[in-house]
Point group: C2
Chain length 438, copies 2
């Protein structure tokens, strides 16, 4: 009996077109990571369940792919790359000179309810700077985000920046105790609106009146012009308390570096909350101007308690994660995604089996000159290889027939113009090279 | 209570040095795949268990990481990339123009008994040519293997080539019925020697005497000089039966192409059996001359029944798999592996916090010229960044102090010679560029 070929709900295959585009994104992203001196690491897809469970939120525990392995061990598929990083850092602490700058690109698994655009297996692209509390490293993560976005040619984007100390300081000033619960509600501002937030703050936390008005007023502060102007406008907040004051000083130091570098894609925005309990310092998220609706495509910030599950040593870090799947969909939607089914530039076709050795030799010569060349394996009427080249998007078809084999010349058909010319191998090479310059 | 940070037995972390080396291998391998017009695809790590179980051997079923997911479905981690390919081909048949040339690089999982050098999660690098029975595609897979080996600079290597039809034809000629069982024993020749094979053939299959002598004599035939010489020496085998005859004709056609291309790294060897039941045509394996003991680093061949579990349509393919983990160990053992902890060329250090913006600006300028530049985030005595650069293998350290900031010049320390010079940013760039040419 035949088995029905199918993938699990929430899991997907990538065909060549999408795979080529994804690999191209990854290659550009890693190029940027490398250029800042981040180095790759790799951890297993499967871990002891206890390593993952202790650190995950309750929701993530429900979504964990956990099971018993052959040895009866409780194991689970990783649900992110951060918990494995914490385990990695503690386990290999002796072998890692600090600061440790790593990136990791890999798949993670979450048994979420399947819905459009959400997958149970997806790719994360994390980069982190571990063991430095310097503002230099915060600034660098933002520099990397900007360099990645530019390298990916996503069009205009904005990096919204805040500091957890600003949010904590505001709550402290207003006498709000449950900061995390408050921010979790405030974080829904975009979704449920001002009135919705007010209602929920009242119902869940008993907050209301002037306190809530003031809270909403303060977190709605955001930079519109230059950073200096913004900081002078909010200078009085520094007097509210030490938490606010030191957070604002750090933001000012950060902006001094970013402004000096001519980075104008960022805006300070006090309503950004990000990930709640996890972050402890400067935080940020990145949205595309042409597609703000897809949400943040690269978020991150500073955290101080990365390794607390595994060690008593305090380990501060700062990092961010590029939302690769979101960026892929966004670029697709914006028509900015490469649409090649193959990277080959030319399809080589023989008219007779006896010309196969010569055909492969020609292809080999072109490859030795750095060209990407596909050989059509069958001997058939030209209609079939032409349709194949058309389908796959090869710009040229190169043909060896009786005459070509005798004369040592080749026929090259331009698949766009339909023009076909007889030329030498050297001339074929020149035609292919001339495309590079266009 | 703290959790002990540890990986599961048979699973491993890769630190930067090993990850950089692995990524470099993958990047070279995909460069070759792309140059032959193979395109990447991606399938999930997790599949319906039935998709994987039906095709796997009994041994693999025992090693399968299988469990029930949140929806009560029987699922399993893939144990290779070939079964998912068969599922993929059948499922997306309408969207794939034939011939379909794909590569896939990904991790697979086998719960084998843990032992040195064998992992339960490891990386496979498969490339296959589906839907063509032409000898052209067989020759191309061998061309790709050769190009990969050369690109990886593994030193001298040998591709041993055989044809399942040769082995079948020999058994047919000798009246041996259970070909697979016979070959499985003969395959142990290297391990248990001639006497061991004879003993086992007798005990397990009741084979002995002249039949076994002749069998061992025939499969020990192998090319030592040129292919033409070999084929003329064994020409009489073509008269034994049609199976042998057509297999030898295919090998001759293959060698004609390979010889014409100047490929002299192959040898016909009738003792190669490879994977037994799975392959149906030409088969090959690749060994390194300097490290034959690690076994084949790239094996493959032609198969005709790829999709039989999922479809009645016959789908012939030919492909091979690069043993990435084996190659990594081999290159390490041969001292041919890059030993960088980071790809950065220079570490930039500021002597005072006030110079951080300038430091980042210099780093940014160098990156804009294509250089890979790391910024040391802390302000400390120079001893620490020097030790850090030394540890990570940065060739240069660039320093901005009071004097440098005033004069607009920089100090560049060559970490190999220990020499330190004052120079302009342009001169720093020239020093870095001059390394490229070396």
């Amino acid at each position: 009996m035949l088995i029905t070929p199918r993938t699990l709900s929430g899991f997907k295959d990538r065909l060549p077109r999408e795979s080529i585009a994804k690999n191209e994104l990854i290659s550009r992203i890693t190029e940027v990571f490398d250029s800042f001196g981040f180095a790759p690491i790799e951890t297993p897809h499967l871990e002891y369940a206890e390593v993952l469970i202790k650190q995950g939120s309750e929701e993530i525990q429900k979504e964990l792919y956990a099971f018993k392995d052959h040895g009866g061990r409780d194991v689970a598929l990783r649900f992110d790359l951060t918990v494995p990083l914490a385990r990695f850092i503690t386990q290999h602490r002796h072998a890692l000179p600090l600061p440790f700058k790593r990136y990791a690109i890999g798949n993670v698994f979450r048994g979420e309810r399947a819905q459009k655009g959400r997958y149970r297996e997806f790719t994360q692209c994390d980069f982190d700077f571990i063991g430095s509390k310097s503002i230099s490293s915060d600034s660098e993560i933002i520099q990397v985000i900007r360099a990645v976005m530019r390298r990916l040619e996503v069009g205009e984007f904005e990096i919204a920046i805040n500091h957890r100390g600003v949010l904590n300081g505001i709550c402290e000033y207003l006498g709000i105790d449950d900061v995390n619960a408050t921010l979790r509600i405030v974080d829904k501002l975009d979704k449920i609106g001002v009135e919705g937030v007010k209602k929920e703050l009242g119902e869940s936390l008993g907050l209301g009146g002037e306190k809530v008005e003031k809270l909403l007023e303060l977190i709605s502060l955001r930079q519109s012009g230059g950073s200096k102007e913004f900081f002078s406008k909010i200078a009085h907040l520094k007097d509210y308390n030490a938490t606010l004051s030191s957070a604002i000083v750090e933001l000012i130091e950060l902006c001094e570096i970013l402004d000096y570098l001519g980075i104008d894609e960022y805006k300070i925005n006090f309503s950004i909350a990000r990930g709640l309990g996890y972050y402890t310092g400067i935080i940020y998220e990145t949205t595309l101007r042409e597609l703000p609706s897809i949400g943040s495509v690269c978020s991150g910030g500073r955290y101080d308690r990365l390794t607390q599950t595994f060690s008593n040593e305090e380990m501060s870090g700062v990092g961010a994660s590029v939302g690769l799947d979101r960026l892929l969909s966004a670029l697709e939607e914006l028509g900015k995604l490469s649409s090649r089914e193959s990277k080959a530039e030319v399809l080589c076709v023989a008219m007779d089996k006896s010309h196969l050795p010569l055909l492969h030799k020609m292809a080999q010569s072109l490859r030795e000159q750095g060209r990407r060349v596909e050989v059509y394996p069958e001997i058939t009427k030209l209609k079939k290889p032409f349709a194949y080249a058309d389908n796959k998007g090869h710009p040229y078809v190169l043909i060896i027939g009786e005459e070509e084999a005798k004369s040592g010349k080749l026929s090259l058909k331009d698949m766009n113009s339909g023009e076909q010319k007889i030329m030498s191998l050297q001339e074929v090479l020149e035609v292919l090279e001339s495309r590079d310059e266009r």
